[in-house]
């Protein structure tokens, strides 16, 4: 089985970057079977066509504005996924919506698609997630792990040491004082 976990969004806009941060968190918390690939798609466009073509399963992670409480985690699947991106004006409006459309046109859409999202609180310019969205991020990371387990692709738990090093885009504090400093 050929699986892509794709986090998208703009890390320069606070909570808009939750998808990219989710990829960092997943990489730090878990080890994945060889058939699972994780990609930080950032503010992607058609450049991702090569990465997305002909997958058995695509797990997308993004910020979703749906009117819920900040940090609310969502799950959409199948046809709801392109429908969601189609209605959206965002930095990846062209990116994901057109990307899915061209994949559909050439018959290369992933066989199965699931979109995980977190309701953002703050989309202003700046780095780091708001506290509510940090909490939502944890829910999504867990949900992605469970989704994979449903296909028999149970992620392993990464070593304690690695899990403590925050990713480049994380503004979480490094390990508490007295413990080993994270490598920048």
């Amino acid at each position: 089985m050929n699986v892509l976990i794709l986090g998208i969004g703009n890390i320069l806009l606070h909570d808009e970057g939750v998808g990219v941060r989710a990829i960092e968190e997943l990489e730090h918390c878990f080890s994945f079977p060889a058939e699972v690939e994780l990609v930080d798609g950032g503010t992607c466009g058609l450049e991702l066509r090569d990465t997305m073509c002909d997958r058995d399963l695509l797990l997308l992670i993004d910020a979703i504005r749906n009117g819920g409480m900040p940090g609310t985690a969502y799950r959409l699947e199948g046809d709801e996924v392109p429908a969601h991106f189609h209605t959206r004006i965002s930095p990846h409006q062209l990116g994901i919506s057109d990307l899915l459309a061209t994949l559909s046109l050439t018959g290369s859409l992933p066989a199965r698609m699931v979109l995980f999202g977190v309701e953002p609180a703050d989309l202003s310019t700046g780095l780091g997630l708001s506290p509510a969205v940090e909490a939502g991020l944890e829910k999504v990371v867990t949900a992605v792990g469970e989704e994979l387990s449903g296909y028999g692709l149970q992620p392993g738990v990464s070593s304690f040491e690695e899990a403590r090093i925050p990713g480049f885009w994380s503004t979480r504090k490094s390990p508490p004082a007295g413990e080993k400093e994270a490598t920048p």
Binding site: N10, I11, L12, L13, E16, D40, G41, G42, T43, C44, G45, L46, E47, L48, R49, D50, C53, I64, R65, N66, G67, G68, T72, A73, Y74, R75, L76, E80, A83, H84, T87, R88, I89, S90, P91, H92, Q93, L94, G95, D98, A101, T102, S104, L105, T106, G107, F116, G117, L123, T125, G126, L127, K139, V140, A143, F168
Partner: protein, 566 residues
């Protein structure tokens, strides 16, 4: 009586652009270009380490991530007066060349062609006649009956499912659509093939840049690619030959299919050579540095004033004062605090949103000027500069394209026709062909340099105490991009990105002179104000990419998708 039309948002672009036009007697009489999102990268970068600025700047946009990474490291290197190892220049050049080809291909076929090509009409075409037409235009191997028939069948199946996907926002059956069903089907066939070739050329960027989108191999002072021809984990001959194969495959498509397609579109829409010239001061940068200091370039660039190709001033090096001193930005009509015109080193970014005021502030985009005048940037500016500078491949592809257009249109079409909406599109395809040749040259340069025993890829940057200022430019797919940095005691004190879409999409400047989008729209025909296809043709011909010209404020969904809460 004049009628106001508002296109908001303009679709098939990256970012959010609003265009307002006053239309009188079927022609645009006045136009406003308004970026509807604001950008604040400058604010994020203040106080940061200049060595990591490129990681942030390349996140501004989803289409041109690579270009902001390259311009950023060049700006910091310039501030430190650094040299960059030759291998690093070649590797960067291959990345930006690959990215440029990818970007031009996607724009021509996937973003802009749908303004000229009627997808619905292609369904009625005769695939046999289409194949014959294709074979008369070029030797492209993908013009076979079987290939064309398969595309038409797929398109029929796709439309039958009730979804139009990427074709959903087109004005099908519009009276300004003039291609025959067969020309339309040929274009759609190449649209589908281009989806695969853009993928291949992007692999060049991925192999050398470690990842796309958002390359990971840059460093202030060079690149992070270790070169070791005997190691499987470094840049070795196997990877280099893979890159070469990809370049050659894409080259074949661009030189046969794409060049003949743009000539055909140009010939059938020859009336569009009369519209859309707008601002004819053209600014472009030299690129593809061939030495460690950035004084010799494979591709020329410079400034042409008032569309006069006899009045060309080349930009000569990374330290070129003619360029450095003559760039300014104005905010008189932009949503920032105050009313000033300043050099990028001296700018500030303090937002001040009013409403849309026709004669006041109406855009998040600032208004750049060169020698106090608005300037058009992009492939047309670059192709004209390279043509004037005597760059042989540019001359060859321009002359060849104009000759094909002239023969198809049965009328003489020369260089002056390039100052137009359709000329901008033709220049983009010419530049794509030029970049393909450049990729081969840069690949040869890299391999020869490695063969000579040089494997250096990085010089360590050193940040002295005190203040340094620097600028870095890059001739990006949408035109000249420049980053301007002020460093103090090893930290960023000020940072400004003057991006191509700012030059083109900028509002009126400090002297109330309109920007290139605005000027180019005046005089455009508009057959049906409810379906302003002609306005989109001219705006799209610039390849707008507003995500980096300004920045995003998300808009509430207009339709709510039912979602399940976890």
């Amino acid at each position: 009586m004049a009628k106001r039309i508002v296109v908001d948002p303009v679709t098939r672009i990256e970012g959010h652009l609003r265009i307002d036009c006053e239309v009188d007697n079927g022609k645009v009489t006045k136009a406003w270009s308004s970026g509807q999102m604001w950008r604040g990268i400058e604010v994020i970068l203040q106080g940061r380490d200049p060595r990591e600025a490129w990681l942030f700047t390349q996140r501004i946009c989803g289409v041109c991530t690579t270009v902001h990474a390259v311009a950023s490291v060049r700006a910091v290197e310039n501030a430190l007066d650094m040299e960059v190892p030759l291998n690093a220049q070649f590797i960067r050049n291959l990345i930006i060349g690959g990215h440029g080809v990818h970007d031009h291909m996607v724009h021509f076929y996937h973003l802009c062609a749908l303004d000229w090509v009627d997808i619905v009409s292609a369904l009625q075409a005769d695939p046999k006649k289409t194949a014959a037409l294709g074979q008369s235009l070029s030797a492209w191997k993908g013009n076979s009956y079987n290939e064309i028939k398969a595309v038409q069948d797929r398109l029929k199946g796709f439309v039958a499912t009730g979804q139009l996907g990427p074709f959903g926002s087109g004005y099908w059956g519009h009276p300004a659509m003039k291609l025959s069903p067969e020309v339309n089907l040929l274009a759609v066939t190449h649209y589908m093939q281009a989806l695969e070739y853009q993928r291949k050329i992007n692999q060049v960027v991925a192999i050398l840049g470690s990842k796309t989108p958002h390359i990971q191999n840059l460093a202030v002072g060079g690149v992070a690619n270790p070169i070791n021809l005997d190691s499987s984990s470094a840049l070795n001959m196997e990877k280099l030959y893979h890159v070469k194969t990809l370049i050659d495959e894409v080259n074949d498509f661009v030189k046969t299919a794409m060049l003949s397609d743009v000539a055909a579109v140009g010939a059938f829409y020859a009336d569009w050579t009369a519209y859309g010239a707008g601002v004819t001061n053209y600014l472009s940068a030299p690129d593809m540095p061939m030495d460690s200091r950035g004084t010799v370039f494979e591709l020329p660039g410079g400034y042409i004033a008032n569309g006069d190709v006899g009045d060309f001033t080349p930009i000569k090096s990374y330290r070129d004062e003619f360029f450095e001193k003559n760039v300014q930005e104005s905010i008189k009509h932009s949503w920032y605090e105050g009313d000033w015109t300043r050099h990028p080193y001296e700018e500030e970014t303090v937002p001040n949103y009013t409403d849309f005021q026709d004669d006041g502030k109406y855009s998040w985009v600032k208004s750049p000027t060169f020698q106090g005048e608005p300037a058009q940037v992009g492939p047309l500016a670059n192709v004209l500069a390279m043509y004037v500078a005597g760059h042989e491949p540019t001359r060859k592809y321009v002359d060849q394209t104009l000759a094909t257009v002239s023969s198809l249109a049965k009328t003489e079409v020369g260089i002056p026709a390039l100052h137009s909406t359709i000329g901008r599109i033709a220049a983009r395809v010419v530049r794509c062909a030029v970049l393909n040749d450049t990729l081969t040259n840069q690949w040869n340069g890299l391999v020869e340099n490695i063969a000579s025993g040089d494997i250096a890829t990085f010089n360590q940057p050193v940040f002295p105490k005190g203040e340094q200022r620097g600028f870095g430019y890059h001739e990006a797919p949408r035109g000249i991009l420049s980053h301007w940095v002020v460093i103090e005691d090893g930290k960023i004190k000020n940072y400004q990105c003057v991006v191509p879409s700012t030059w083109n999409a900028g509002p009126r400047n400090g002297n109330d002179a309109p920007g290139p989008y605005e000027a180019s729209l005046v005089g455009n025909p508009v057959a049906d104000p409810e379906k302003p296809l002609e306005v989109l043709r001219t705006v799209h011909s610039f390849d707008p990419c507003l995500a980096c010209a300004i920045h995003l404020v998300d808009k509430e969904n207009e339709e709510i998708v039912r979602v399940k809460v976890l």
